[in-house]
């Protein structure tokens, strides 16, 4: 088993762990953390694939590496946006879970 395969398998486990967290945690902040774990797992998987494609004197496939850098930045902006939304929710209410009050008996109308 090569190092790249090992990393690929580890990435699969990370993704599995993150997916568990995404489903099981009720707290949005923990979901955001889990999202980041899944994200890094996907990136690590890509890194393993890039390492497999090492040739022409490069340590890995540079196209995949470049894509990853873009992906990491995009994932960060998603995290920042979700966190900002969560904090804004916190500033207007105490209840920060995603579970909604039953919609059909909703008292306050939309704007």
């Amino acid at each position: 088993m090569t190092g790249a395969t090992l990393h690929g398998l580890a990435a699969a486990i990370l993704i599995g762990l993150g997916v568990f967290g995404l489903i099981a945690h009720a707290s949005p902040l923990r979901k955001i953390l889990a999202f980041n774990i899944v994200g890094s797992g996907v990136f690590l998987l890509a890194g393993a694939l890039a390492r497999r494609g090492a040739e022409a004197g490069f340590g890995g496939d540079p196209v995949l590496h470049a894509i990853l850098i873009t992906g990491i930045v995009v994932a960060f902006s998603a995290t920042a946006m979700a966190t900002a939304m969560l904090l804004r929710l916190r500033s207007v209410t105490d209840r920060t879970t995603l579970a909604e009050t039953p919609p059909r008996h909703d008292a306050d109308p939309p704007a």
């Binding site: 996907v42 998987l45 890509a46 979700a82 929710l89 995603l98 909703d106 306050d108």
Partner: protein, 571 residues
């Protein structure tokens, strides 16, 4: 594959909205809507030019002169150009509609919500154009994220806790979808060493990895499209947003991820798809129609009704998948069925946007949108009432709407392939649509409840825009006459033929029955027998829209699809 000279137009169509967004941010204050207006005019011209070019041949552009697989290519084919045209019409209409709502209030230099709205509208547009024309799976991922980032803040422009919660749900669920899509992209690169759609379509073979990829990517995109049972975020988000924002979200945003599924199934890996998976997608569509419509009939608020009708209409968009599966070739094939699907998307985009606009106008005029108390609205807002009726008719698929044409093509395909069950779904779906349209119209036309309330004035421009959009949807069927579309001639030969009229009468009658059966009524009246089923369906829907259930459905769907892909080939 080779580049076309007019290809630069595609780059313009993608980048102009973003450039406009940035300049509008720089301009700030009262200048933001003006810059947005100029941008809209520029993009409309660009898209029109693209349409004229694509009528002859698809456009291709290699960015930076680098050919795939190293570089990124943009391609505008027929479906892409068609979708771009539809989006252009809807965006322009929404901009006109929202001119008054999102003007900077007197006395302020700049206000938050208007600035955000105009910037996000342009961003949604640019992202959609990117998704329609991009030929590279990773660029498409960036486009998807752009679309999500532009769409989510529209939900919570008013900053109330409920809309913030809806927006956060939407964002987190959509992000889960993005990760699945990205995972698929990475795996595909690991097998084929390219991300270019056209290059991939030539080499992709069914294998463990490609099947996993198709299952993961489709599941991820469905989460963003909110196909039942993955509609966890849609009703609160679409119902809570301001009317113009709801029109963007419902009419446009969900079409982006839907279109990407179409690309994936028809262009990237048509040969990986199996009969079973196509049926599964269609079955989920059918379930969406039934559940979405019944829950819509039971709503007490107009905007939630329209939001649930979107859940149902999204189901409609997936009925073409089983009918487009060519069993003899064992692959997806486009043709008339694909055209029908695109027509359906087009008519839904226009009709649903105008329906949300109408709902927003009622809300503004009456100060509420409780369906039971809509009485007298028709007298106060005749144009908007007409808009609502026409949008409903267009969604039902009455001659000569785009949905009619689409339905006719799909019915023909279903008859052709002997898949009679889709005929039932198609006609039943139309009856449901008729049901909630009739339900609302009856209330609108009812005499006002005493005492007469103050009715606020609404913008005439907004009313007329909504009407025009509904009219566009109702007349969309005439595109069949355009030679470039490639539809068989004579599809709308005689709109007043007895058989057509009979179908319409049957569908409307069925709709009235359904409305009578499922709708909620004052507690003094004895509920109909069917209401019992309605309550059950409603509770079922509420259960599915809990986070754990929805995320489990997401992965369960991926698993089911992977299994069907695997077993379909073994047989």
């Amino acid at each position: 594959m080779t580049e076309t000279p007019a290809g630069l137009l595609i780059v313009l169509a993608v980048l102009l909205p973003f450039v406009g967004m940035m300049l509008a941010l720089m301009a700030g204050g009262r200048n933001t809507p003006r810059v947005a207006a100029i941008t809209i005019v520029c993009v409309v011209v660009t898209v029109a030019a693209i349409g004229l070019q694509v009528a002859h041949a698809p456009l291709v552009y290699q960015l930076g002169g680098w050919a795939p697989p190293l570089g990124v290519a943009l391609r505008a084919d027929g479906p892409a150009a068609g979708m771009m045209a539809v989006v252009t019409v809807v965006v322009a209409a929404i901009a006109l509609y929202a001119r008054r709502d999102f003007a900077v209030p007197e006395g302020l230099v700049e206000a938050r919500a208007p600035l955000a709205f105009w910037l996000l509208l342009l961003a949604v547009w640019g992202s959609l154009n990117l998704i329609f024309v991009s030929g590279d799976l990773f660029t498409l991922y960036v486009g998807l994220e752009l679309l999500t980032f532009a769409g989510v803040p529209l939900v919570c422009l008013d900053g109330r806790a409920e809309t913030l919660r809806a927006a956060l749900r939407y964002l987190l669920f959509a992000l889960m979808g993005s990760l699945l899509y990205l995972l698929g992209t990475v795996l595909i690169f690991g097998v084929y060493g390219t991300l270019d759609i056209e290059l991939l379509s030539r080499v992709i073979q069914p294998s463990l990895v490609t099947r996993t990829v198709l299952a993961l990517m489709t599941a991820g995109l469905l989460a963003k499209t909110a196909l039942f049972p993955l509609h966890i975020w849609l009703p609160p988000a679409h119902a809570g947003a301001p009317a113009a924002a709801s029109a963007i979200l419902s009419g446009l945003v969900i079409k982006g991820s839907w279109f990407l599924i179409v690309r994936l199934w028809f262009d990237v890996m048509p040969g990986v798809v199996t009969f079973g998976t196509a049926q599964l997608l269609g079955a989920m569509g059918a379930a969406a129609i039934v559940v979405g419509s019944i829950v819509a009939l039971r709503q007490q608020r107009l905007k939630l009704l329209v939001a649930y009708s979107t859940v149902a209409q999204i189901g409609y968009l997936f009925l073409m998948f089983p009918l487009a599966f060519d069993a003899s070739a064992g692959a997806m094939s486009g043709g008339n069925v694909l055209t029908a699907g695109l027509l359906q998307a087009a008519s839904h985009a226009t009709a649903k946007a105008s329906m949300f606009m109408a709902a927003g106008l009622f809300y503004k005029a009456l100060g509420h949108d409780r369906i039971a108390e809509l009485g007298g609205a028709a007298r106060a807002l005749p144009i908007t009432t007409l808009t609502f009726a026409m949008a409903g008719l267009a969604l039902m698929g009455v001659v000569p709407s785009g949905a009619y044409l689409a339905k006719k093509l799909l019915l023909a395909a279903a008859a052709d392939q002997g898949q009679w069950w889709w005929t039932v779904v198609l006609q039943g779906g139309a009856a449901f649509t008729a049901g909630y349209t009739v339900l609302v119209l009856r209330r609108l036309l009812a005499s006002p409840m005493a005492p007469e309330r103050e009715i606020a004035r609404v913008s005439r421009l907004s009313e007329c825009t909504a009407l025009a959009l509904a009219l566009a949807s109702l007349l969309l069927g005439f595109v069949a006459a355009v030679p470039g579309i490639g539809l068989p001639s004579g599809l709308i030969s005689n709109p007043l033929a007895p058989s057509e009229l009979l179908t319409i009468c049957l569908v409307t009658g069925g709709g009235c029955l359904l409305a009578w059966g499922f709708a909620q009524r004052p507690s003094s009246v004895r509920p109909a027998k069917a209401a019992f089923v309605g309550v059950l369906v409603e509770d079922f829907d509420g259960l599915l829209r809990q986070w754990p259930a929805a995320s489990l459905s997401l992965f369960a769907f991926a698993a089911a699809m992977g299994w069907l892909l695997q077993s379909g080939t073994a047989a």
